[in-house]
Every structure is written in structure tokens, then in C-alpha cells.
């Protein structure tokens, strides 16, 4: 008997030892051994920009592989030349200042005070390195961006400091608008570090891209990586950040540490924000007004709570009958209740929909024409949907119980059931699709939701392997909107048919096939011309013409306006977050574009 007991004790002791070991070995990265807790009033907890395990902090790695804050266009460790303010459309100085931009060139002055964390100045060599590497290596992240620039010229200014001129590549894309997009998105990296790494690795970029660059990396931004593991990423304030003097009158960012916990479950963001464990988040939280009592705030104090920035939409495979018939597509657009989508699928976080690809508010408002929307667009109108279908010869066949069975075309052929592909588990998108499906079926269109795994959704998109698919083209607010949205939905520049290995990264619905009898050359012409127009009246006229073509041809069906980020904050620990009453920065987490300055404006709540 005693034997049994003793072996239990042993097992227990072994178990406890394993647990101890386990917890101890959770350490990785730049661990500050012996470091004690982070003072809550000096630490900012933010989440929503890192979902899986952090892989690498290498700014040369592809953006989708890099971890926060090196991924995307975040400015905490590496900084772009200029920061875009998505509220007023202006460019704010960062490593450089935008001097001028026209159809020939974009001119930026480098800030002479800008320094790397190892004390070296940020120079034109660094800027040229990161852009030109796209010419040297087709696998580099800037390989696409550099095609818009024919050369980067540098000169010393008389009063000191360097001036950079990005000359528009007229032979290739001839698009100065996209250069602005890239200047506010591409982060400058220290050339002296990466040229050395390249030289040490036989000039093999893919070898350099594999370094994690997570141990005291040379950065220019206000924070640097402190510690990370699969549960969280921690960055620490750099008290010698050059911008404190040069941009913020000697002030330092308020939080000493920024911690990005990695949550595995959507509900955790809302719970953590309500409990004050998180200071800001960017995830969709239903019924945000119920969280106000827990000191959770949003940009607007009342509906729609958020600033619209992007349009989730149904892309339509226009190569497939009956979706190749624009009357059919317009009937679909008339069948969907956008008001229901707004109220039921996205908690009312959107303003009212207008037909077309231009948002009727904010920076895009000047391009929007209410008259065009009324006369060319189709709004929600079930009777109109039925009428269009009837006139085009489509008939709905009902089951004996009165529900829809199938549809026939004008030659009385039975049409196959259409599906709407949507990534399974994206709850707000799935809700939108359900409401769209309901409206379409009520109008007699035989369509069903098709929720698929991410592994099937992503490849389906460029290959055109869908009937209708949920997608959010041009997801972030950049200087080139709404041009980017038109290009993403309507451009046939890189047109490729459905099937085989053919892929299209824009216009995945294969609208406007070049060479076909229906091809409308004006669409591509306008998409090509708008970035080169200088006169605002011309630009407005061109956008309105393009939008009229969109409304008449309906190659996609926008479903609602959603914000670029669901910017939610808690005032339990930190206050003075920007809001519509105090709009000193755009409603984005304080590491995107011009919103980084929030860090200098936050104040401890107590």
C-alpha cells in the first residue's frame, strides 16, 4: 500500500517540477531577466494588430511575415518619410517633410535631426537603399513600389539637409498618386546595417530576410523591441528618440512600455477593454454603447461611433451567366437591404449607403454626386429588382409551399444556384452575407451563402473561382483613395481569364474584358488618367464619370461603409484619446500614420 502512495508523491513532485520548468521556459526573445512587473500607469496595453505567434522583427521580411510593430505601416520602430492624416488628407513630417508633389515628381526634405538608435544620421542613402533594393531583387518588398519611380535624386540644400526628388516613372505606371501612398507606407531601414548583412550573405536577400532582427535592432522610431513570446509583444520607449526634440518640443511619449497581448478569441478584446486590462483596441465589438458605462470610448459619442473608411462588398464573377448580364447584377443590387445590413450586421456602425464606389462623406465627399447616385445608381427597392429581372426575361420558379425553387433565363433554361463565398468565422461578414442572401431570395434570385475556410477563401479570390465573394478592396485609408478602390474593382490592366493558374489581384470579378465586344476602353483610360490630373475640377469630373459607369454596369455590390479600424479606447488608465470633440489625430491606434502622436498626448487618468 505504501508503495502506491509513494509513487503518487513522486509523480506529483515530477509534475510540479515539469510545470515549473514549463513556466520558466516560456521565455524567449530579448528577455530582461530579473525584471519585475510593468507599472500600469506607465504601460499602454493595445491589441488587434498581431494575431498569431510573432515570427520576425525583420523590416526587410515581407509585411505579412513580420510581427507587430514591424508589420503593416506601423511607425513605432521603423518610420516612413511622411505620415498621412486620414482626417484632413494632409501629410505630416516624420523622417522627412513633403515639399511638393505634381505629375512629374514628389519632393521630400529629409529631417537633418533624424537619427538611428546607434547614433548614425538617417540619410538619403538609407532612403535610396530601401527603395532601390526593389530594383536589385525581385523578391524585395519594394519591388512593386519602385516601378512607379524612375529615379530618386538627391541634393544638399543651401540651408543644410538633404532634398530627395522621386521622379515619376512615365515609361511604366506613370502614377504620382501611388508614389504618395508608398512614401507614407514604406518604412526606412538603416542601410549601414542591411548592406553589411547582404555583403556577409553573398548578396542573397532571401538569406537576409530570414534573420529575426529582434536583438537590439537599429531603429529610428520612438520605441524598440523589449521582449516577446507567443503571448505578448512588449516595446520600450527610447528616451533618446530624435523626434522628441525635432517634432515634439522636447516632450517624450507618455507610456514607457507598450504591450500588445496576443488574444486567441474575439471576445477577449471587449472583455479586456471593459475591465481596463486593455487601453485601446481595433476589433469589431457589437453594441459598443453598452460598454460606455465601463469607460469605453469611440470617436463619435453616438451612432455611427466610427469614421467610415472602407467598403466591404460582394465581388461578382462577371464571366459567368447570369452574372455576366448587367441587368441581373443591377437587380441584385436593388434586392439587398443596406439598411438591414447596417443595423443588424454591423451594430449601426455605418452611415447610410449611397450607390457607387465613392463615399459620400469625409475626404471623398467632394467627388460624390448625389444627382448621379439618384439617376444612375440602384438603391434598395425589391419591386425594382423584380421588375428588372422580369424585363430581362428571368423567371423565378416557386415550390408548392411558395418558397423559391430555382430560376430560369429568357430561353427558359434552368439556372444553377449561385453562391456567395465568405470566410467562415468572420462573423460581421457572414451576417452581411446572410442579410444579402435573404433580400436576393425574396426578389426571386436563387443564391445561397457559402462559408469556406480561410484556406479556400484566399485562393478563390485571385483565381476567380467564385460566383459572388465577400471582399474589402482598398482596406486602408491612403492618399490615393478613391482611385485605389476604382482600380481594385474595375481595372483590366492585368486582365487574366478564369481558370488554370491565372490570377488577378485586382478586379477579381473579371469585369470589362479587353478585346471583348462589351469592352469599355473608357474605364481603363479614366483609371489611367486620374492620377495624372492636376486640375481639381477635371479630377471630380473623371471620378463622377467612372462612378456612373460603375453604377450602370454594377461589377460589384458595396454593402456598407465601415471604418478603417474599429478604434475603441478605455479611459480607465489613460485619458486624452482623440475623439470628434478633440480631433488632434485620426481615429487609429497610436502606431498608424499621423495617429502616432497620440502617444505624446496621452495622460495618466489618475
Amino acid at each position: 500500500m505504501m508503495k502506491v502512495k509513494r509513487s503518487w508523491l513522486k509523480t506529483l513532485a515530477a509534475g510540479a517540477a515539469v510545470v515549473g520548468l514549463g513556466l520558466a521556459s516560456c521565455k524567449s526573445g530579448d528577455g530582461a531577466a530579473g525584471e519585475t512587473g510593468f507599472r500600469r500607469d506607465k504601460t499602454l496595453y493595445l491589441a488587434g494588430s498581431q494575431w498569431g505567434d510573432p515570427n520576425t522583427f525583420n523590416p526587410m521580411a515581407e509585411s505579412w511575415q513580420a510581427a507587430w510593430p514591424v508589420n503593416d505601416k506601423f511607425n513605432l520602430m521603423y518610420e516612413p518619410l511622411i505620415a498621412y492624416n486620414s482626417l484632413d488628407g494632409k501629410f505630416e513630417p516624420l523622417l522627412g517633410t513633403l515639399v511638393s508633389h505634381d505629375t512629374q515628381k514628389v519632393v521630400v526634405d529629409l529631417n537633418p535631426k533624424a537619427k538611428w538608435s546607434d547614433g548614425q544620421p538617417v540619410t538619403s542613402t538609407d532612403v535610396k537603399f530601401v527603395f532601390e533594393i526593389g530594383r536589385r531583387f525581385p523578391g524585395a518588398a519594394t519591388a512593386y513600389a519602385i516601378r512607379f519611380v524612375s529615379s530618386i535624386e538627391t541634393e544638399m540644400k543651401e540651408e543644410g539637409g538633404e532634398r530627395l526628388t522621386f521622379v515619376v516613372n512615365k515609361a511604366d505606371r506613370n502614377n504620382p498618386l501611388v508614389i504618395l501612398d508608398h512614401l507614407q507606407a514604406i518604412r526606412i531601414v538603416p542601410a549601414h546595417v542591411f548592406e553589411k548583412l547582404l555583403a556577409e550573405n553573398n548578396n542573397d536577400l532571401s538569406a537576409v530576410q530570414k534573420f529575426k532582427i529582434d536583438q537590439n535592432p537599429v531603429v529610428s522610431g520612438p520605441y524598440n523591441i523589449h521582449h516577446y513570446n507567443n503571448e505578448r509583444i512588449i516595446v520600450k520607449r527610447r528616451d533618446d528618440y530624435w523626434g522628441n526634440e525635432a517634432l515634439y518640443e522636447g516632450k517624450m511619449p507618455a507610456p514607457e512600455y507598450i504591450i500588445h497581448p496576443i488574444y486567441k478569441n474575439n471576445d477577449h478584446f471587449a472583455i479586456a477593454l471593459q475591465q481596463g486590462r486593455l487601453d485601446a483596441s481595433q476589433t469589431y465589438m457589437p453594441r459598443i454603447w453598452l460598454k460606455k458605462k465601463d469607460q469605453v470610448g469611440t470617436w463619435y459619442d453616438k451612432a455611427p461611433y466610427f469614421v467610415p473608411g472602407a467598403m466591404p462588398m460582394l465581388l461578382i464573377n462577371t464571366t459567368k451567366a447570369p452574372l455576366n448580364d448587367k441587368n441581373f447584377r443591377r437587380a441584385m443590387a436593388a434586392a439587398i437591404s443596406y439598411a438591414d445590413i447596417k443595423e443588424l450586421a454591423v451594430s449601426g456602425y455605418a452611415s447610410d449607403m449611397q450607390p457607387g464606389l465613392i463615399m459620400p462623406q469625409g475626404l471623398e465627399e467632394k467627388f460624390f454626386s448625389a444627382g448621379d447616385a439618384a439617376s444612375f445608381g440602384v438603391a434598395h427597392n425589391p419591386d425594382l429588382a423584380k421588375k428588372i429581372l422580369e424585363e430581362a426575361g428571368y423567371k423565378s420558379v416557386l415550390k408548392p409551399d411558395g418558397t423559391l425553387d430555382y430560376m430560369t433565363d429568357k430561353a427558359d433554361n434552368k439556372l444553377p444556384q449561385l453562391t456567395i463565398t465568405v470566410p467562415a468565422g468572420w462573423s460581421d461578414w457572414e451576417a452581411m452575407v446572410k442579410i444579402a442572401e435573404k433580400g436576393l431570395r425574396l426578389a426571386g434570385i436563387d443564391v445561397r451563402e457559402n462559408p469556406v475556410d480561410g484556406g479556400l477563401y484566399w485562393p478563390a479570390l485571385p483565381s476567380g473561382n467564385f460566383d459572388l465573394i465577400m471582399h474589402k478592396p482598398a482596406p486602408s485609408v491612403t492618399p490615393s483613395l478613391p482611385w485605389t478602390r476604382f482600380e481594385a474593382v474595375m481595372s483590366s490592366r492585368d486582365w487574366a481569364p478564369v481558370g488554370g493558374d491565372n490570377k488577378m489581384n485586382e478586379n477579381q470579378g473579371r469585369y470589362n474584358q479587353p478585346g471583348s465586344p462589351e469592352y469599355n476602353a473608357r474605364v481603363d483610360e479614366l483609371i489611367g488618367l486620374i492620377p495624372r490630373m492636376e486640375n481639381e475640377a477635371d479630377i471630380i469630373a473623371a471620378y463622377q464619370e467612372l462612378n456612373r459607369i460603375f453604377m450602370q454596369d454594377q461589377p460589384a455590390i458595396p454593402l456598407c461603409y465601415l471604418p478603417e479600424q474599429f478604434y475603441e479606447f478605455s479611459t480607465k488608465i489613460w485619458k486624452n484619446w482623440p475623439t470628434s470633440d478633440n480631433p488632434y489625430a485620426p481615429p487609429l491606434l497610436p502606431w498608424v500614420g499621423a495617429s502616432t502622436k497620440i502617444l505624446w498626448n496621452l495622460e495618466p487618468a489618475k
Binding site: M1, V4, W8, T11, L12, G15, V18, V19, L21, G22, L23, A24, S25, C26, K27, G31, A32, A33, G34, E35, T36, G37, F38, R40, D53, N55, A61, E62, W64, Q65, A66, P138, G139, Y144, R147, K210, H227, N229, N230, E231, I262, Y263, K264, N265, H268, I271, A272, Q275, G454, G455, L456, W458, P459, L461, P462, S463, A496, K503, N505, E506
Partner: protein
């Protein structure tokens, strides 16, 4: 051969069968993720490809295909005459994909060298490192829970069987109720009540406000965060074990040896221990199997509490078709389940006198 050493023969026979099972499992683990209609490069390209030209996309796609070992390669020489490997191309210049069988052979070769490959998604992270980072969380979450749940459940079960009466009348329905609760519902109820309503415990995460290591802020924070996940598994597990033990106990109580022990007037604790020892055999099997499958991670619990364990690593890999990680994790699970089963087989042979006698008489199992 080995007839005069029945135990060794038994162990060898078992080991042989487990090896065959292992081979079959590895083959299935390799082929299953590849049977789907999509491949990881398509997924990566669809997400990384926006804003790139078609030519850049083609170059990148070929780079990934080569890196992931999904294309046929041949030995060649570069301009400088050095030996290099290059992709085999078809008449149109497109790379020729390696068949699943060719990939399988490469995989087996790597496995033999202890190389589980490199994750497609995690920036050339070794699969062994992916596992190494996730396993401590999985073990920390589950090992204590399984052990305590097993011990407490069995003790209470045996007690209930022996005492019966009011204790059993209250205990049995409670244990039955607990054991039939799904983990996730119970976990969510615990979070809703103890974390959200009462605010006694944190609702998520493994620790807070600290850097992992042997320092007080971390250890105290980890312990505080550990309470809810622990109880979400512990209570259900203990309930299940108790029910099993109780039924076994009641069965054993009716047997002759217990009656005999009672008639001899032995002390109650001594009788209880006899009972316990005999009723425990199936429970030991259960314990070993839970420890074996433990390594697969408690996916639902990990999701509810945002614990970065193996279950999450596996889910992440499956949704992205990250073949090497799927293969690596399933390999670890296969090996640990097989080892657990093997250990049980051997243990039972030694613990159970009836089985032992059978083996010694050369009858095998």
C-alpha cells in the same frame, strides 16, 4: 525463439505492432492535409499578392514553391560553374510540381535525421521550435490538472462506493453532472461568473504585467491566471474519474475477497485500500491515455483563455495548410499516444496478476 522469455517476447511483439501503427499514422498524417483542393502557396500569394504585378507574383510564387519543397529540383551548374539546384520546368517554362509521394520520401528522409522541417508561415522557423514554444504552455495547463483531477476523482469515487448513503446520494449526481459538462461551456461559465461578475480572477491570458522567469511578479501573476483554466478542466475530469471509480468500486465491493476481508475484521482503511488497488486498473489505463493525448493540447480551453498552447498552434497550421507544422504536431501526438498505450500495456502486464500469469504461461495477451 524467445519462448523461454515470455515477458521479453511480449514486449517485443507489442513494440513491433506499435511500430507498424506508427508508420501508418505518419503516412496518414502526411497525406491528409495534402488531400484538400488548395495548397499553401496559393493562400500565401492571395494574401501577399495584392499590389504586385503579375511578373513579381510569378517570381515570388516560384520562390515559395522552391523553398517549401513543392517542386521537382535537379542538379545543375550556375554561370560560374558551381553546383546548384534548380527547378525542373515544363515546356511552357512553368515549374513542375513534386508529387505527394516524392514529397513523402523527402519527408521520411528528413524525419530520420530528426528534422521536422520548417514552417511555411513562420519565417523559416523550425517546426521543432514551434513545438518547443507551445509545449510548455500545454503541459503547464494540463499535466497538473490531469494528475490532480485523477487523484481527487478516484479517491472520492472510491469513498462514495464504500460509504454509499447520503454522501453518495449527493456526490453521485454532482459528479455525473460535472462530467457531462462540455469543457467549453464550463470554461465560459467560470469566466462569466468568477472573472466578469465577481472579478476575482483574470478572464484570459497566462500572466500579466511581468516577464516570464523566476521572478515574483510573474509567478504570482501566472498562478492567479491559472485558477480558472485549472478548474475548468479539473472539475470535469475529477467528476468523470469519480464516476468510473465508483462503479468499479461498487462492483469490487460485491466480490468475495472484500467480503472475506470484512469478515476477518480488518480495519476499514485496509479494506478500502484493497478495494482501491483492484478497482484502479482501468483507471490507470485512463490516466496513461489522458497523459498521452494531453500533448495534443486542450484547444477549446486554450481558445477560451487565450493560452498559446499546441492546440492553437495546430489550429493555426491547419487553417493555413502549413504542412510541416501539421505533420510535426501530429507526429508528436502520435508518438506520445503510442508511448502512453505501450506503457499501459506493459504496466498492466506487471500490475495485474491475472495478466502477468497469462504472460508467464506463454499465452500472450
Amino acid at each position: 525463439m524467445l519462448k523461454q522469455y515470455p515477458t521479453a517476447r511480449f514486449i517485443l511483439m507489442r513494440a513491433g505492432w506499435y511500430f507498424v501503427t506508427f508508420l501508418v499514422a505518419v503516412t496518414i498524417n502526411f497525406y491528409l492535409p495534402r488531400l484538400g483542393p488548395n495548397n499553401p502557396v496559393d493562400i500565401i500569394m492571395a494574401q501577399a499578392g495584392s499590389g504586385t504585378s503579375r511578373e513579381d507574383m510569378r517570381i515570388k510564387e516560384e520562390m515559395y514553391l522552391m523553398e517549401f519543397g513543392l517542386v521537382k529540383m535537379k542538379a545543375s551548374r550556375d554561370a560560374g560553374g558551381r553546383a546548384v539546384k534548380e527547378m525542373v520546368r515544363d515546356a511552357e517554362g512553368k515549374p513542375v510540381r513534386a508529387s505527394n509521394f516524392e514529397q513523402f520520401i523527402t519527408y521520411l528522409g528528413m524525419c530520420l535525421k530528426g528534422d521536422l522541417g520548417t514552417s511555411f508561415y513562420k519565417q523559416s522557423k523550425k517546426v521543432t521550435d514551434v513545438i518547443k514554444e507551445a509545449v510548455p504552455w500545454t503541459i503547464a495547463l494540463q499535466l497538473p490538472t490531469i494528475l490532480f483531477g485523477w487523484i481527487v476523482g478516484n479517491l472520492l469515487g472510491a469513498l462514495a462506493a464504500y460509504r454509499r448513503g447520503v454522501f453518495d446520494k449527493v456526490f453521485f449526481p454532482v459528479a455525473l453532472g460535472l462530467s457531462s459538462f462540455p469543457f467549453f461551456v464550463f470554461g465560459m461559465l467560470l469566466v462569466a461568473f468568477f472573472a466578469l461578475t465577481l472579478g476575482w480572477f483574470p478572464p484570459m491570458g497566462g500572466y500579466d504585467n511581468a516577464i516570464p522567469g523566476f521572478n515574483w511578479p510573474f509567478l504570482s501573476s501566472a498562478a492567479h491566471h491559472y485558477v480558472l483554466p485549472f478548474f475548468s478542466i479539473f472539475l470535469i475530469l475529477a467528476g468523470g474519474q469519480a464516476i468510473g471509480m465508483r462503479s468499479m468500486g461498487i462492483y469490487e465491493l460485491g466480490t468475495d475477497y472484500i467480503k472475506y476481508a470484512k469478515w476477518l475484521g480488518l480495519r476499514e482503511t485496509t479494506v478500502l485500500l484493497y478495494l482501491f488497488r483492484n478497482a484502479m486498473l482501468p483507471q490507470i489505463t485512463g490516466l496513461a491515455l489522458s497523459l498521452g493525448t494531453m500533448i495534443g493540447g486542450a484547444l477549446i480551453t486554450e481558445m477560451i483563455f487565450s493560452y498559446p498552447g499546441l492546440g492553437m498552434a495546430m489550429l493555426d497550421a491547419v487553417t493555413k495548410n502549413d504542412y510541416p507544422v501539421i505533420q510535426g504536431v501530429t507526429l508528436i501526438i502520435t508518438v506520445s499516444v503510442l508511448i502512453a498505450n505501450f506503457t499501459v500495456d506493459i504496466l498492466i502486464a506487471f500490475l495485474d496478476p491475472r495478466v502477468k500469469a497469462g504472460v508467464q504461461m506463454g499465452k500472450g495477451l
